[in-house]
């Protein structure tokens, strides 16, 4: 069936059909993003002061990305103008520039903006005393230096005892949650300081992980596995005398790592054995080492192994402390979270909106590539005007994606 009005405007609407179609689609997109925008505003307005991480975004990166998207929006309309003049080579030139900008935008998001957040942690402690101790440990050096410098400038350096507290309030808490100091920021900080809801914020450099002893404590004959098979399974995991181990129990593996221990526990559990895992000692691992977890979570860190935690302590370098490392014991950790969606309401909606926008950019790149391939270009050789209109309608979508970002930029990076 021939699609009507691909080139000529339909008399009653005054538009060719595709254009009306794309405008209706854009209207539905306004609804979609509008819902998310209003959710964001609602959550932002309703947030308790001192809980919305507004100062974490790198505004220069955001501005750079905004300009990249603006450029791509301009290039696509120039590509369309070239088609209007019947210049396919010119169209291709501008179209490749558009695609390059779109890809650059995604690369910055994908390899810089999001991943750096996934590697950044907040650690909440269960004891206020411990929190104050860790902050003092982490910040006293840099706080003293900071005080000396501001003293030289003739400012009031504050009393010596509260230097670290003062520094944390000024350089970390206020900048992250308020940007500028005010009565509100002071009040919110005092509450967070007194109640211990302040988080240690920084990067995990290394951690002490358990070395696990795996012990056989018994074997059930009624588990449906024959003695021979059970002993074969034991031998697979390096038992010297499987028959003796099965009958009397004993140490199977000594000082093995967590993954191996868990794998053995599962496999031998299937063969009817009951095992006891115990922590023999702890070994320090840096995060670059093989087998290190990509994203740490509270449950993983605090997992109970024979009465002791999987990770005894983590070594953290706190933000704005000039890479001064402190050691945080697992038993004091209440919650630990990277800047991932479940970290807080802010990151939840941040990833939802930027993710949906990035999905639109990605979809746009696919359509643009299609229009550059021979299969897409064949339309040009069949019906020039129709192809030009096709690029125009794609351009309308692309400008909308740019529009969304124009509003996202001030909302996410400045509000």
């Amino acid at each position: 069936m021939e699609i009507p009005y691909t080139v000529k405007p339909r008399p009653d609407t005054g538009l060719y059909n595709a254009k009306l179609g794309i405008w209706l689609f854009l209207a539905s997109e306004v609804m979609l993003f509008g819902a998310l925008f209003s959710s964001y505003v609602l959550l932002r307005v309703g947030a308790v002061p001192g809980t919305w991480s507004m100062g974490l975004m790198d505004i220069m990166v955001g501005a750079g990305n905004t300009m990249v998207l603006i450029a791509s929006s301009m290039f696509i309309v120039l590509a369309w103008a070239q088609l209007k003049q019947g210049n396919l080579a010119g169209y291709k030139k501008w179209k490749w520039a558009t695609i390059a900008c779109a890809v650059l935008f995604l690369v910055v998001k994908w390899s810089y903006e999001w991943p750096t957040k996934f590697k950044h942690y907040d650690i909440w402690l269960s004891s206020t005393v411990e929190l104050h101790k860790k902050l003092e440990q982490g910040y006293h050096l840099v706080a003293e230096k900071h005080a000396r410098e501001s003293h030289q400038e003739g400012e009031d350096a504050g009393s010596h005892g509260g230097l670290a507290k003062h520094y944390v309030e000024e350089e970390i808490f206020t900048k992250r949650f308020f940007k500028e100091p005010s009565g509100d920021s002071h009040k919110a900080f005092d509450v967070a300081w007194e109640q211990g809801t302040l988080a240690l914020s920084g990067h995990i450099n290394s951690y002490e992980e358990a070395q696990i002893n795996v012990r056989i404590s018994g074997w059930k004959a009624d588990a449906g596995v024959s003695e021979v098979d059970a002993e074969k399974t034991l031998a697979r995991f390096g038992a010297g005398d499987p028959a003796k181990l099965r009958k009397q129990g004993g140490l199977l593996l000594e000082k093995t790592d967590y993954d191996t221990a868990k794998r053995v526990e599962y496999a031998l559990g299937q063969a009817g054995f009951t095992l006891a895992l115990g922590v023999a000692g702890y070994t320090e691992k840096t995060k670059e080492e093989e087998g290190a977890a990509w994203v740490w979570r509270t449950k993983r860190v605090a997992e109970d192994i024979g009465g002791q935690p999987r990770v005894r302590s983590i070594i953290v370098s706190l933000d704005h402390s000039h890479h001064h490392e402190i050691k945080v014991e697992t038993k004091h950790i209440k919650r630990l979270s990277a800047f991932e969606p479940k970290h807080s309401t802010f990151f939840g909606i941040y990833y939802t909106i930027t993710g949906l926008h990035a999905a639109h950019v990605f979809g746009g790149i696919i359509v643009m590539l299609y229009n550059m391939l021979p299969i897409g270009l064949s339309m040009w050789h069949k019906d020039r005007e129709r192809f030009t209109n096709r690029i125009e309608t794609f351009g309308l979508f692309w400008h909308f994606v740019d529009l969304v970002w124009i509003f996202l930029f001030p909302i996410l990076y400045i509000l």
Binding site: P4, P9, R10, P11, D12, T13, G14, L15, L20, W23, L24, L26, A27, V30, M31, G34, A35, S38, V41, L42, V45, G46, I59, M60, A63, T66, M67, I70, A71, S73, M74, V77, L78, A81, K84, Q85, K179, E180, E392, G395, L396, H399, D402, L403, I406, F407, F409, P410, I411, Y413, I414, L415
Partner: protein
């Protein structure tokens, strides 16, 4: 774009305009960043300035890049976007109304900021504007006689039938 705007001169004029708008958009972004870096406005002011600049930028994109300046006589686009905006504003109105209605404790007495029923009804009507107007417009459109060109193929077929 209407057919009258396809002349080469007009295209050259458009291309110059595209470059200019690109420049305006980049300048707008730079101003936003500069204001954020140089001045310490309180949050509502910063939000207002940021959103106003964004609104101006958006206006340029819609008017020039999306050719709306030359398409605005096309009533379908205008209606679609205006109604969508009204719908969105209505939804925001309902949300802000709900958000403004938190009971507050002042000196141990629970206060509730009373909002007049007018704003509630207005927000609800705003929110209903899109679905209702679209239904009305569609019914109106369907009840009109079919346009001449659209009817042409079937008319030809009918003519052929009568010949046979």
């Amino acid at each position: 774009m209407g057919d009258s705007h396809d002349s080469p001169d007009f295209l050259q004029y458009l291309i110059r305009l595209f470059y200019m708008v690109g420049g305006v958009l980049v300048a707008g972004t730079l101003i936003t960043v500069l204001i954020d870096v140089l001045f310490a406005f309180p949050l509502p002011v910063a939000a207002l300035i940021g959103l106003l600049i964004a609104l101006v930028k958006a206006g340029f994109v819609v008017a020039v890049f999306m050719h709306y300046k030359w398409d605005k006589k096309l009533i379908m686009i205008t209606w679609t976007m205006v109604l969508t905006f009204i719908f969105f504003a209505g939804m925001m109105g309902l949300i802000m109304w709900a958000e403004g209605d938190h009971p507050q404790v002042r000196e141990n007495i629970l206060y509730r900021d009373e909002l007049s029923a007018f704003w509630i009804v207005a927000a609800a009507l705003f929110g209903l504007a899109l679905p209702v107007s679209f239904t009305v417009l569609t019914i109106k459109q369907l009840s009109q006689p079919a346009p001449v060109e659209a009817a042409a193929p079937s008319a030809k077929r009918a003519a052929k039938k009568t010949k046979r």
